[in-house]
Symmetry: C2
Subunit: 450 residues, 2 copies
Amino acid sequence: MATHKFFLGEDVLPRRWYNVLADMPTKPAPYLHPGTKKPVGPDDLSPIFPMGLIEQEVSDKRWIDIPEEILEILALWRPTPLHRALRLEKALGTPAHIYYKNESVSPAGSHKPNTAVAQAFYNKREGIKRLATETGAGQWGSALALACNFFDLKCMVYMVRVSYQQKPYRRSMMHTWGAEVIPSPSDKTNAGRGILAQFPDCPGSLGMAISEAVEDAATHKDTNYSLGSVLNHVILHQTIVGLEAKEQLKKAGEKPDILIACVGGGSNFGGFVAPFIPDKLEKKSMRIIAVEPSSCPSITRGQYAYDFGDTAQMTPLIKMFTLGHDFVPPGIHAGGLRYHGMSPIVSTLVKDGICEAVSAEQLEVFDAAVLFARTEGIIPAPETAHAIWAAIQEAEKCTKTGEKKVIAFNFSGHGHFDMGAYDAYFANKLVNFAYPQEAIEKSMANLPVV
Amino acid sequence: MATHKFFLGEDVLPRRWYNVLADMPTKPAPYLHPGTKKPVGPDDLSPIFPMGLIEQEVSDKRWIDIPEEILEILALWRPTPLHRALRLEKALGTPAHIYYKNESVSPAGSHKPNTAVAQAFYNKREGIKRLATETGAGQWGSALALACNFFDLKCMVYMVRVSYQQKPYRRSMMHTWGAEVIPSPSDKTNAGRGILAQFPDCPGSLGMAISEAVEDAATHKDTNYSLGSVLNHVILHQTIVGLEAKEQLKKAGEKPDILIACVGGGSNFGGFVAPFIPDKLEKKSMRIIAVEPSSCPSITRGQYAYDFGDTAQMTPLIKMFTLGHDFVPPGIHAGGLRYHGMSPIVSTLVKDGICEAVSAEQLEVFDAAVLFARTEGIIPAPETAHAIWAAIQEAEKCTKTGEKKVIAFNFSGHGHFDMGAYDAYFANKLVNFAYPQEAIEKSMANLPVV
């Protein structure tokens, strides 16, 4: 029997996070204060983040120890398995070897708890009682609800209204772990009330929900804000995924030629590929591909510029690929990828030509999802299916050239709470979104002047 | 860091199923033909089952090789991890060691694919093109849809109407793997039409859906019937769970004092505990506990007698614990446990005092489910929560006595498709069902005379 799965024993759970900032040829530009346009310091961030995370955000140490309290919780489901997708390979008739790292085995169903647990820990350690956050598809909100539950913190989730309605069971999951969940825009914050006054039926967006959660944290003394992607410390926590995958590929006797992950805010991609960046810097032929939806094409059609992280312009300015902070993407089913901006680490890696980006249409993404479900079994989240689509593309190139490339992608989450999207696909109700260039240009015209 | 998870490497995936019939002091009574009341032979079963499975049903060989084709598919998710529930232990303040075998990591989310894959394989090998089956909560239907997809068989699922309505996403999951799903009772079969004529709004039951699936198989030449529990060959296939758990407990340096699993038809319980039966026969103090819902108390309040497996009296007569083949349990959320009968192997083990049974009320089961979700992370299926409830009961006894017992239970599935039940629990809408004794006596008055 051919071997499908590569385990790491308990003993080899990584004990340190890898900080890719230490090895990047170009460092990301500093965050700027939205008022003064000067680089922000720790004091600017401390009203909403704990010092433990602020230090990680700007650290240039290559390795950072993972506290024992975090490891003990991650060990509930980590290390996660690396699978060889033998049945998918066979269906494609490709000589390529396809591997996927299975992050869907976490209790929340994705990679998100890797950073949620760390963020809850540092906040708890610094006396915080409550965390506020936003969630799109619900993966991040579920992860933070789970993590807050473990550290006995209250959790307040602003959930993008369209997802709140489409995915009631994500809400139920958050309730089960004890979190409070409300649809955003809400009447709980000035940001939310302002938007509702203008657009009473507003479906919401990640940018708006971030504004609400940041305001909640800034106006409650016992509350901090928690972000599930974009920032450096989030990618740092997610490197446990890439570190495990690297060991497991070694165990499988393989060196990856192509690494693939989907990108929304960039933490899934960043965490998976960061530990391989030193290899890429040595071996130029290696390719590292970020996959985004063509309906929210931050990297492939956005600008590399300073922009706000949120709609209400409350966050620091971030140098990143952006579609403009008031860009509202269409309601595609990969809700976790509907963000106007992109992690500064990922943006810089792309800008430097170390990583590349492609975009995929919704329909071809679901074709790939169903092929994966029917060959490998697991039903993928729509976000994850973007990575699967790109892996299939690359494997099919190998079929033509006869090359035996080693392709590894991050299976970031399962689709158990996305079955409505599969229903729509089978009922031929899913469509692609050709976003008009003028619409993108319009939102980019509102970029802040720095 | 304490160790939570016990892995088995790929190399130690069990290669043989364990047939507990070889070691049972009393063998189950033979199946009887519903007309002649004589023991059935292979010819009676061959219209709906392949010979490969019929042979296993009556085999007394202790070990049966698992064909390579089956192992290759099981290896997509097997071996499954065994976890030490350290956080649950801590929450309970118990000196007991609690372990759970995590079957929720299969693509369908439960232990069910272990036998679905085997059944699809043997049917395919004997030229069958299509399988018909019933499903209650949807776990079994999903598993067979997955397995048929792997072996390129058509799959027809009769889904109990109340579940079909309550759990649309289980349907979507089956569609994703290519199965056809219709609510039962349906107008596709004589059995279904007969019931609908009498009760147009009938919510359905497993017994009715079995009648429909059996009729479908008996009336289509290319179609066989597939049953997800009750029968000996189903328990045989599920022993891979217990075999792995036994090895993993050994690896953890533990010998179980108490084994626990929930029972509906008995295959989850049987597969988990069967490999430990020889140990129990040697060490009388070991306890093996089946947990059933008090709303469908086949063992704890039923009779040990010959009865039909289905409502329409089409199946052979089975000597088992039964509530009567026309018993219709209330619509509790543990749909997989709503079956009037019980596996003859499990029934005989209980009758002989080798295993014992307890029943649990719906509300206390959900209390246990939420405690588990908040300590160990994973949200359990309502069925699985019955086992958790019993494990907590036993652990709390240890708290009182100070005994350091080793308790192991089967975490048979996750609750990702049962979140509506959690919503009802949090909204205080769940109730217990005190089933009146007269109602049970009424359905048992219709037991066939043998």
